[in-house]
């Protein structure tokens, strides 16, 4: 048995349910809260903003169409502070705040075949309306929005087996059927006047199923 086969087998084992479910209800809605880092596609980003990444937070809400397919919408916000360009003087100076607010519509395929499955890989993507704003201290604010698309993939870890009692209480108190911790990779593509403003996000979040 080669290494790939062993890995595949182990992965399949992870997908098996533990037989634990907060209740017998089948969730229809999901809500996500996440935070992470957004790395713009632009290679010169760190020259102007000091780092190649900026912090990002976001929120999603989705509806389960089929057992493994969700449709949802997501909004996130990222902000970076740095300097601007003075091409005539060949300088980088000033105070610039760059903000982005992508709004997404997506389809998400979640490999969630049974209730109580504690590891759920997922993959999805969709349309992005990428809004941005650039504020230069003492000057006008530049703002706009462009169309784009995104792809996302990640792994969700079911938290309920860690503390079944709390899971039951959360269900009774707030109607949360399952809670997941997840790690996600997201690639966003968008262009404004041929300038690529998309990038890669690395997020960690909490997903609640209702």
């Amino acid at each position: 048995m080669n290494k790939n086969n062993i890995c595949s087998l182990l992965f399949l084992c992870l997908l098996f349910p533990l037989g634990i479910n907060a209740n017998n209800a089948s969730p229809k809605w999901t809500m996500e809260f996440y935070a992470g880092a957004f790395e713009p596609e632009d290679e010169n980003w760190s020259t102007y903003y000091g780092s190649s990444k900026m912090p990002q937070v976001g929120f999603s809400i989705a509806y389960r169409i089929f057992n493994v397919l969700d449709i949802g919408t997501n909004i996130s916000y990222g902000r970076d502070q740095g300097k601007g360009d003075l091409p005539l003087n060949n300088l980088i100076a000033g105070d610039v705040v760059h903000e982005m607010l992508p709004v997404e519509l997506y389809l998400l395929f979640r490999a969630r075949f049974t209730e109580g499955q504690w590891l759920v890989p997922y993959v999805g993507g969709g349309y992005t309306r990428f809004a941005y704003r650039q504020e230069v201290k003492g000057q006008d604010t530049v703002k706009g929005s462009v169309d784009g698309n995104h792809f996302r993939a990640g792994l969700q870890f079911l938290l309920d087996p860690l503390d079944e009692k709390s899971a039951q209480e959360i269900y009774r108190g707030f109607g949360v059927i399952n809670s997941y911790l997840y790690l996600e990779y997201k690639q966003t593509e968008a262009e404004a006047d041929k300038i690529k403003i998309g990038g890669t996000s690395y997020n960690m979040g909490l997903m609640l199923e209702f």
Binding site: D42, D85, N89, L91, A93, H98, Q139, A192
Partner: protein, 598 residues
């Protein structure tokens, strides 16, 4: 045997003396120092607060300490945590809290479970609390000993609240002024009235005023609520029970009376410093000036006079103490009711400062940021600048090391230099003082604090340094990275290729400065923002249109530039353009009709 007793007695005496001798004053200037001092202090030490505002909550649970403000009117204690009192005294004895102004917070002083709370003294404080606060809150006090003497309670909700336990022990409430308690029933809640004597209430309190020498009269302050010293006509003067060292009559009531009184007068506001024209002194480089200092009179009845302190080209007088620092500076004495002092001074020519070093220029939109290294002896700087098309100009700035030079043109390169300036200067403070002979026949003088900034006045000629090195730079708009397009001016942006093009900026300025300031202009902008993006997208996709649109836009941009230069010229130019367009259209139509005829 005798020797043994003698040794024991000597040892006991030594220990007792040592404990008394080691009770010392620890002076503090900020909150951190207060808590450090409380940790370091020994039993019975006094922590002396310099004038200032202290946001804190002090819990006294394990050490007998005394707390005193150096200047009652200017030593403010405010509760850091609104849920806690400033002072919380819990099961300890020998605590003294005196000479503070309590300005804010829930309670100023709270005494808990005071079975063991003996010998607690609250003297000469001002309680001026906001909200539903209690100035002094005493909880559960079956056997206690608390002296509340010579305080001024001004406009509080509760003044003193003694829980619900009638068996209160020994609480003395004497020689206080109670002014305008917002809920008069709460003035002295549950306090045994037998111990309430020789106080001044501004309102009639049933069972209190008219008994035990408690009077019902207005106190007559100097300037309430900031300055609660008493004016000469105050009924609270000399109306206490015990003798007063100050004027050998009876003690005054309120925060500024009694044996533990803080005799520091309220600080003086200097109104103006005038300097007359200079007179040269023969055979000397010095120049003589007559200085006139005026101030606002301090109406405290105890004021003996005023002292005018000044320094020439010297250090700041603010916060200098009477006892040590101040003594080195010149002073002029004035009488009790004086509000002006005139005196002559000799001033040497100010030293020429070294030329400053101009470090760098940073361009901004129509602005240059200028940074230099300061020169010794400089009190101000002059920035000299000229543009390629602008005459030389200058701007004077204070003793700083950078300046934002605005109102420049992005189309010019500017040359900048800096000179340092020096000029003689007089700094003035005025102190009110109280002078009296104490019981030991010694003359005591107490001067007011220097809380306010010095009043400065420049004298003589400005002595300028040599000019610094020069630097050149062109102001420039900062372009945010990446240079993303902005919503608005869509067509121009599409035609000129990028958002930050100077031509597009001209149109944006026109939008902001003219169109958005009229209803018609705003309606046009709204219409344009609705349909403009479609046209812009079309131009973007058909690059061949860009030169054509630019050709159409250039006259408009040029017109706008003329508008910024001169409005009449703008309308003339507009008429020419319209005339030219109409004429050209007519000629084209005429020619095409001829072609059709042929």
């Amino acid at each position: 045997m005798y020797l043994k007793r003698l040794i024991i007695l000597f040892t006991l005496f030594f220990l007792l003396s040592a404990s008394i001798c080691y009770a010392e004053d620890i002076v503090v200037e900020d909150v951190d120092q207060v808590f450090e001092a409380m940790e370091d202090a020994d039993e019975n030490d006094t922590i002396v607060f310099k004038p200032g505002t202290y946001n804190l909550n002090i819990e006294l649970v394990d050490k007998d300490l005394k707390f005193r403000g150096e200047d009652t009117a200017n030593t403010f204690l405010i509760s850091e945590d609104d849920e806690k009192p400033v002072f919380s005294v819990n099961e300890i004895s020998n605590v003294t809290i005196q000479n503070f102004t309590f300005n804010d917070g829930l309670n100023a002083v709270q005494i808990f479970e005071s079975n063991n709370a003996r010998n607690i003294k609250i003297f000469n404080n001002i309680f001026n609390l906001e909200g539903d606060s209690i100035a002094i809150d005493i909880i559960a006090s079956p056997s206690t000993s608390i002296d509340i003497e010579n305080n001024t309670f001004y406009n509080n909700f509760f003044d003193v609240n003694l829980g619900d336990d009638e068996n209160s022990g020994n609480i003395i409430f004497q020689h206080n002024i109670v002014h305008n308690t917002r809920n008069s029933e709460n003035s002295l809640k549950n306090l045994p009235l037998g111990d309430v004597s020789y106080n001044c209430f501004n309102e009639d309190i049933s069972g209190v005023t008219g008994t035990n020498n408690n009077i019902n009269k207005l106190a007559s302050y100097v300037a309430a609520p900031d300055d609660l010293h008493l004016r000469v006509d105050s009924p609270c003067i000399d109306n206490g029970e015990t003798e007063d060292d100050f004027d050998e009559t009876f003690v005054d009531l309120g925060a500024y009376g009694g044996p533990e009184d803080d005799l520091t007068p309220y600080h003086v506001e200097v109104d103006e410093v005038k300097v007359s024209s200079a007179t040269d002194i023969a055979d000397s480089s010095d120049t003589s000036y007559t200085v006139e200092v005026s101030w606002l009179e301090n109406l405290d009845y105890r004021i003996s006079g005023y002292k005018v302190y000044y320094t020439l080209n010297g250090e700041t007088l603010k916060n200098k103490n009477y006892d040590d620092d101040r003594i080195n500076f010149h002073n002029e004495l004035e009488a009790k009711d004086a509000t002006k002092s005139v005196f002559d001074i000799l001033v040497s020519e100010a030293e020429k400062p070294a030329a400053p070093k101009l470090d760098r220029l940073e361009p901004r939109d129509e602005t240059l940021l200028i940074y230099w290294t300061k020169s010794e002896n400089a009190i101000s700087y002059t920035i000299n600048y000229s543009g390629t098309n602008t005459a030389a100009d200058s701007v004077d700035v204070d003793d700083v090391d950078n300046y934002e030079l605005t109102g420049l043109s992005n189309d010019e390169t500017y040359t900048v230099s800096v000179t340092a300036n020096n000029q003689s200067e007089i700094k003035v403070q005025v102190a009110a003082y109280i002078e009296f002979t104490n019981e030991d026949d010694e003359t005591e003088v107490h001067e007011s604090s220097f809380i306010n900034d010095d009043v400065n006045k420049k004298l003589g000629e400005i002595i300028a340094s040599d000019v610094s090195n020069t630097l050149t730079m062109q102001p420039e708009r900062i372009i945010a990275y990446p240079p993303l397009p902005n919503e608005g001016c869509f067509i121009a942006t599409a035609a000129f290729g990028y958002y930050s093009a100077a031509e597009v900026q001209v149109l944006r300025d026109f939008r902001d400065d003219y169109l958005l300031k009229s209803a018609a202009g705003m309606a046009f902008v709204k219409w344009y923002y609705t349909y403009g993006p479609y046209a812009a997208a079309y131009i973007q996709e058909n690059s061949i249109l860009k030169p054509l649109v630019r050709t159409v836009l250039y006259p408009l941009i040029f017109s706008v530039q003329i508008l910024y230069f001169n409005m009449y010229l703008f309308f003339t130019f507009l008429m020419v353009i319209i005339g030219f367009t109409v004429g050209l259209t007519y000629l084209i139509m005429r020619r095409s009709s001829r072609v059709r005829v042929i």
